[in-house]
């Protein structure tokens, strides 16, 4: 009897402990009561040094910890951030950024002109920099006092304020950057949040940075990044309150809406393409490239990859974007008969061309490319290489796929795809004839000039002569969020926390 009572007492104590432990290990672990906490399920970045991380989509996550020199507004125009303004000289080959006074990094270091200068110089020179290719217009940076950063350019380039936004100029603490290896896993910036706990591959916790230049408009006290689960479980995770925000695959939109979650269709500059290496056989034959161009049925990508939440595009921008060239649209329409004829003219029998399509992860888009090329007699074998980025950026692959989230500077987008050293140009150093001159003219055109759109579109037209890229579709940025999270600012391609609130659960 005594033993039974003792057992019951022990069981009750164990249950109480378990309940406490469960609460402690739950989603609010570490959050003080009354705090506004955002739990975001996301693929955690491998690199937390913006110089190493580069200008890809991961900048959205790094922007929690880092503030950038400029931002963009909802129309995609450059607006002040760390820099309260900027001026070009009369010849357009020098731009001076004027910093806000009293800025400081989360390690207490001052965020002054010297810090910006050191960051940009590091981005240009550090051995493993993924940004140096974006900074070719910058010749020299000087600090004029504490607040003015003077940038001398190699050419007239009015794109610099757009360029030095979140993707390229998330300024790092110069003190922390003395050890770039450590910085890559211990971010130290001047962003809206500061890291409090970092467990690689698991989670990263942040708290609000009271010293952020716009801290008054940050209403979230704590952000928890959790390694995202499989896309099929995202909706149920949000529905049950495990997370508040996540990227959403288009195939899951129906489920998210049915669950009463908020599906956010964020504007952006996304464009996906088939990357071709014209330096390798059989794509050294222009007729084979043209055959691929005519083989692509873009609507199939829109229907099966984006579930209708995207648009067909044959350019590195979505239709309707400022740099989208209507004159070039539909130049290579879907015509498989013509594609087969071109292959025959190139001397290839059906089934004679066998290629590996190397991609980082299995994708519906790859299967569509495989089927569409098979229909014209090109046999494609899909090869998944988790280490895909190494041969892709070394330009060793013959055929691959790439999806860009775009760039704030349309010129940067164009040079990344079509430039001789563009990171997304699989055919380096190949560039289409006339592209260099067209892109220089676009750079030299002030953003408020009436000729700006026309010159940009002319540069796009020149770039599209490239045989290295066949654009397929423009997916939409889709997020799913709990109704606790207020509307996200509709900044194209980015996620901003300014003004966003998270209600108590």
């Amino acid at each position: 009897m005594k033993l039974a009572r003792r057992t019951r007492q022990l069981a009750a104590a164990a249950a109480a402990l378990l309940a406490l432990a469960t609460t402690g290990c739950g989603a609010d672990a570490g959050a003080a009561s009354g705090e506004s906490t955002l739990r975001w399920a996301v693929a955690l970045p491998a690199h937390w040094d913006p110089v190493v991380s580069g200008s890809g989509a991961q900048f959205r996550i790094l922007s929690l910890a880092y503030a950038s020199l400029t931002e963009i507004d909802e129309q995609g125009k450059a607006v002040p951030s760390l820099a309260r303004g900027w001026d070009y000289n009369s010849t357009g080959d020098q731009v001076t950024f004027h910093l806000r006074p009293g800025l400081k990094f989360t390690d207490g270091e001052p965020l002054d002109a010297r810090a910006v200068k050191l960051y940009l110089e590091r981005a240009k020179t550090q051995k493993n920099s993924a940004l140096f290719g974006d900074l070719t217009s910058i010749k020299e940076i000087t600090a004029d006092g504490d607040l003015d950063v003077v940038i001398n350019l190699t050419q007239v380039d009015y794109q610099i304020p757009l360029l030095l936004g979140e993707r390229v100029a998330q300024i790092t603490s110069p003190k922390a950057a003395q050890d770039p290896v450590k910085l890559d896993q211990n971010p130290v910036g001047a962003g809206p949040f500061v890291v409090t706990e970092f467990v690689p591959g698991s989670h990263v916790y942040f708290k609000k940075n009271a010293d952020y230049w716009d801290a008054a408009n940050i209403h979230i006290d704590r952000v928890e990044l959790h390694a995202a689960p499989d896309s099929a479980t995202i909706v149920s995770s949000l529905k049950t309150g495990v997370y508040d925000l996540a990227y959403l695959d288009a195939s899951q939109v129906k489920a998210a809406k049915a669950s009463g979650l908020d599906v956010v269709l964020q504007p952006g500059f996304n464009a996906s393409n088939i990357s071709i290496n014209v330096n390798k056989k059989p794509f050294d034959n222009p007729k084979v490239v043209d055959a691929v161009r005519y083989a692509v049925n873009r609507q199939e990508f829109v229907d099966k990859v984006t579930f209708g939440y995207g648009k067909a595009t044959d350019q590195p921008f979505p239709p309707g974007y400022l740099a989208y060239d209507e004159k070039s649209a539909g130049q290579f329409g879907y015509d498989p008969a013509k594609a087969r004829q071109l292959l025959a003219e190139a001397g290839y029998q059906p089934g004679q061309i066998k290629l590996d399509l190397v991609i980082p992860a299995q994708s519906t888009a790859a299967e569509i490319v495989q089927a569409q090329l098979d229909a014209i007699g090109i046999t494609v074998s899909i090869k998944v290489d988790p280490n895909w980025s190494t041969p892709f950026f070394a330009k060793d692959l013959t055929l691959s796929l790439y999806g860009t989230t775009g760039r704030e500077s349309p010129v940067q987008t164009l040079t990344a795809h079509f430039g001789p050293n563009g990171p997304l140009n699989l055919s380096t150093p190949y560039q289409p004839e006339g592209f260099e001159a067209a892109i220089a003219l676009a750079r030299q055109t002030p953003l408020d000039s009436p000729d700006y759109a026309a010159n940009l579109q002319a540069a796009t037209r020149a770039g599209l002569a490239s045989r290295a890229l066949v654009f397929t579709h423009a997916p939409t940025n889709i997020f799913v969020k709990s109704t606790r999270v207020s509307a996200l600012p509709a900044i194209p391609g980015q996620i901003h926390w300014t003004g966003v609130t998270v209600a108590a659960s």
């Binding site: 099929a232 695959d249 195939s251 899951q252 199939e300 099966k304 519906t364 299967e367 089927a371 899909i382």
Partner: protein, 290 residues
Amino acid sequence: MVRRLLALTSGRIAAVILALIALLALLGPLLSPQDPLAGSADILADPGPHHWLGTDYLGRDVLSRLLAGSRLSVLGALQVTVMALLVGVIPGILSVYLGRAFEWVTLRLADTLIALPFLVFAVAVTALLGNGIPQAMLTVGIMVSPLFFRVSRAATLSVARSQYVEAAIIAGASVGWIVRRHVWTKVLPPIAIALAHTAGVGFVVVSSLTFLGIGVRPPAPTWGGILASDLGFLSYRPWAPLLPTALIMATVWACNLLADAIRDVSGEAGRALLDNRKLRGRLAVAGRGA
């Protein structure tokens, strides 16, 4: 053995299911009502007259893909089983007769293989040798082989220490003769059980690997691959994963049922059981006749 096996209900059920699966593997691609690789604009469609089990995310006919996928799944399981049999049985028997050094080495190898997680190892091998079913399955076959090694060694040991074998050795019988004449007949029943069980394990492994996208390249259909892709579209076809799951479960269940049936009918106990059943059957018939 086969006659006795079919005398059991469980044996008959297992045989029917496995015969159907074998038929699917042989004729599945021919039975497919449509091209299993051909996509259409009609994606994630519900079952209808044109697509009896609906379509997948690329508009391909699901029934045709399930039928076409049976061959790869069955072949993968067979590869595992045959490899495990070859690598496990022969060293298992020889470890009793080829001296202490051979025995020690084979036992340590078997222990090592048991300690390795074979699914993870298979993934690593495909990463090294290329993403193909044969590479993955041969690796898993080797990893599973200790089961056959231990079963055949245990059976051989029990025979090798019996008096009639010792008498045969004294009479000058060779090791080969003893294995053929005495050991093989004793080893065969437990190996048959292990074989059926391993085939079931092989199905699970091949389904797991293809579920993860390992060992097979699109657009080749497999049951595991179809299951994996179906899970991504539950909001459109929530019942879809049940189809490949049912096929995998039925096959594995039939393999295990067959293993149990073989165990029941093999050896003296099995014979006695059957004899009793026959006797009861005859008595029942006689009773009805009376």
